[in-house]
Subunit: 205 residues, 4 copies
């Protein structure tokens, strides 16, 4: 099995997922301010999902970069991940239609949990099938740790959604930042105000 075609197919699916979400955005019924202001939460949800898919695309790219041999298990783990990610436009629309209410935020949080788990499974499928060097193993282990932290954060956000949905949303943004810029940099940043350059380089500001 050819790795290139696996990458091309995944890229195609991710590009479609990230773009078709815009079809779900409803235009306001009338053009007065009352109607127009309702699109801001919907836009915020769209932005959040866009960033999540963007992060998955970036990490998925790095992960597949390590792959040398493809087997059935990797193909199916990959399709499994794409399946859950493909539901994100659906969950985003649900959130938008219900103005971030409890149930819709809990569904969104559940979907993020399952997607995170699917990503973890894909990574494990790749690790089992390869003999990586120590440096690579360390890098992948750190990724796994991040994945487990995210999973716990998402599971917490399912629970908080039923009490204060806003807390779940803060958790979503927090996880996005954690994946965006390596956490080490962030914690170093917290202690040392001079390391702004590192933050700039790693997080792309």
């Amino acid at each position: 099995m050819n790795k290139t075609r696996l990458e091309a197919f995944s890229d195609g699916v991710l590009a479609i997922i990230i773009t078709i979400m815009v079809l779900e955005l409803k235009t306001p019924e009338s053009n007065d301010w009352e109607s127009v202001k309702h699109i801001f939460p919907v836009l915020a949800g769209y932005l959040l999902s866009f960033v999540f898919i963007g992060i998955y695309w970036g990490n998925h790219h790095h992960l597949l970069h390590t792959v040398k041999k493809v087997n059935s298990r990797i193909i199916w783990s990959n399709l499994n991940l794409l399946f859950w990610l493909s539901l994100i436009p659906f969950a985003t629309r649900w959130i938008g239609e219900n103005d971030f209410d409890k149930i819709s935020v809990a569904v969104y949080a559940t979907l993020l949990s399952v997607s995170g788990l699917a990503y973890y499974i894909l990574q494990q499928s790749i690790v089992v099938h390869h003999h990586f060097q120590d440096k690579m193993k360390d890098a992948l282990k750190k990724q796994s740790q991040k994945g487990i932290i995210s999973l716990f954060a998402y599971l917490t956000s399912i629970a908080t959604a039923f009490i204060y949905p806003i807390i779940s949303e803060i958790i979503f943004v927090g996880v996005a930042i954690m994946w965006w810029c390596p956490i080490k940099i962030l914690s170093r940043q917290w202690r040392n105000k001079n390391k702004k350059t590192a933050l700039k380089t790693e997080c792309g500001f």
Copy 2:
């Protein structure tokens, strides 16, 4: 005619088919449990179609891998297959809107039959145009046998849809499993409980 572009176009179409189905998923009208539980059969239909397209993508990839020369007949057989597969999101929506009732399941089963036939035709078009080695011929013959078994299973499922749609659905899942893991492994597994490793490797668990 360039094989790469044929692959790229097919991959693009399959990636779009597998992803746009999510646009067909309707969010529940209200957020109480009564409404929410209606999305589970719809999700099940989406999952089934996702797996079928995924299997077609994998097999299509392997089949095109054997192609060395492309002629008109292969191009049109391929477009013919893509045409029927492109109707799967439509049939999936139909099933979802009618909660797996008789007519909609029969339509879905018919579509799977015709898609299976189209895949068989594509394979024949490729075989006629090439001089394969014996090993490859055997592999393709086994694929053909699987294709014919699937076709009979699908035709049966059209009939059963009018009596008990649930039987048709079981047939769909059965055919998916047959394509997912090679049948030899499965039958061996049946006789010998120790061959779990083979099952694991081939089916990607």
Copy 3:
């Protein structure tokens, strides 16, 4: 300007055009025969458009294969063609919603005319920018002749749409067949019943 990216972008757009049409197909309101039979004309329209886009994809591929240098004019002629082809799903939906009535068929015929013209312009842009060998020139000249015949056929079909839409539809199918299999073969076939092999090879039956 890189030819590969021009091809990739065009392939992407054509793959999306050919696939999103399925989103326009409406499922029947109820599952009795009266409702279900209404989808057949819609499906016929979908099939027609699918075949037209498929033919454009095949010919576009062959045409771009001849390109060695890309300039602004070729890029814009190509975008012009893609623009008109992107309207085909819209016209197909229109035809489907109005059961092939006069206006909708006339709109569809107009769109096919303009697309045919845009293809002709793209071919001219490529010819002007290259110094082809005589053999290639001849092949492109034959393509141009076919293009001009199609254009006249389409213009006729706009007129006939207002009198008998069915005549326009027959013209559409006729043009599709003309592009599908080279005409020379067809006319030879007409005279000589033994040349079935040639027909088989060229038209891909």
Copy 4:
């Protein structure tokens, strides 16, 4: 990080954006002239957006061509640009549904401004990360100047939208022409009627 995959993903997203807009086009309710004539402004909006995305695709291609090394900042600047461009189908639908009224034109103009700014940021991210030769620097500087002129034109068009939306639309067309053909050629053309060849070559007529 691999530049090829960045290009492929961007191309995919742009191809989808440019094509899914057609799903937003509503067919007329009845087939009399009164209803049909309402689709012309909608089609005009679609054409405008198609041309803008086409211009972005062309320029984006040239810009990424200069990239040799990819870092986080370039990836995120690119995703930022794609995010704003992905909203263009949404704004186009809004314009179409409100027949180019004040609010919808102002929203469209705002979106074009932000997209222009995002493109400028992407270019800066690339410039900072590379050591270009003088010739390339000059070319990119000219692009920046064009970008700043566009930005001022768009900001003006937001203001004029509230007074005469038609002025904003003229500005949109003007900016499109400015990006389409290099301005130098246009101004030379103004002075010298003989330079038609240059115009022809550069603008692709």
